[in-house]
Symmetry: C2
Subunit: 216 residues, 2 copies
């Protein structure tokens, strides 16, 4: 997903950031995510990451073996909380909870999780390198997450009078992407999460009156 | 938008491709697009592009001044036909054509244009480098395209009983992205274009019965 902004967040700094945390590892992850989504994975050096994180390059290598290791950590950290959340909603779905309610919750809570990570996760997922085959664990976990979305969409598809060619798997992917693209929307996280949940239901052909019910 | 596939299209070749065209410039653009979306802009060298295009690096430099020049050409080529198409639909809209019909056509025709370009345009647009500030002409043209989408969505928003916070600008962006993400859907281009048009109308709260009317 494009990063529709040409305003760089800041210039590389050799001194510690004002927003530095007490955790150097966290500082590295934040700096790396910010650089990866601004200038690409290939265009980012560990030296640049260390500079932005306000530390020497040698310190970075104390915590990570290199760029691959940093991206792997970022990817695992971002997909896992969403996956845990989705698994618990799958249990609710199989226990009889309404599919529209479940889809709304999935998207809204996923949006909140991804926004709270504060790392433009959607933009991170858009990097070609993420899908290059070097991060199979992430690709696998993300596929499971999309599968849960698709399971809910399948139930909703059975309800609507579908008049065009669409599969549950495709709808699931698009709904999953709504949460991942929420970083493009400004406003309070609660409002954006609600918007994304409602849009996901609309994509599935749920009439607005039923959307109103599902979000309660 | 992620490229949800870990299957490389092929290995770099030093000999001319079987699918080589009579136009070396076209061969370079195809090879570059394929590499950029598979391994990132930063991770792609002009040497690798020349190898895939089946020519020597010096030949590549006869046609392009470098990677930036190639990406600039690719971006201009992909956004302009969509923009011309959208401008003619804006004329129809202002002349009184139904907004639902216009949005369906915009998305469906945009999908066909992007698919026929055969360069995974959506994945190309997802590269962070595209939005880095180095391609202001493309960013400007893409903003105009999104603006046309938003103008149509604004008319549709006025019609539906919107029960959640969404702006025409946001809906316009999401509809524009539907066409750009169509490369993730397999199937005949006509079917995918129809699906994307219908999904765009759904996102705008157009009931399925009215969707049926708009796509005729």
């Amino acid at each position: 997903m494009p990063q529709h902004s040409s305003n760089p967040v800041g210039r590389p700094r050799a001194v510690p950031r004002e927003d530095a945390t007490a955790d150097p590892k966290e500082d590295i992850l934040r700096a790396a995510a910010s650089l990866f989504v601004r200038q690409g994975f290939g265009g980012t050096s560990t030296r640049a990451i260390a500079e932005i994180a306000g530390m020497r390059q040698a310190t970075l290598y104390y915590y990570f073996s290199g760029k691959d290791d940093i991206l792997r950590t970022l990817l695992a950290e971002t997909v896992r909380p969403s996956l845990e959340m989705a698994k618990s909603w799958r249990v609710a779905l199989r226990g009889g909870q309404d599919a529209a309610v479940v889809l709304y919750r999935l998207i809204a809570e996923d949006t909140r999780i991804l926004r709270s990570a504060g790392r433009q996760v959607g933009a991170l997922y858009a990097l070609p390198e993420v899908w290059s085959g070097n991060y199979p664990e992430f690709v696998e976990e993300h596929a499971v997450l999309e599968g849960i979305y698709s399971e809910v969409c399948e139930l909703l598809l059975a309800r609507t009078e579908v008049t065009f060619a669409i599969e549950a798997r495709q709808l699931g992917r698009l709904c999953c992407q709504l949460a991942e693209n929420a970083y493009l929307f400004s406003g309070p996280v609660q409002t954006v999460a609600d918007t994304m949940g409602c849009l996901g239901l609309r994509l599935n052909g749920v009439p607005d009156a039923a959307v109103e019910f599902a979000r309660r």
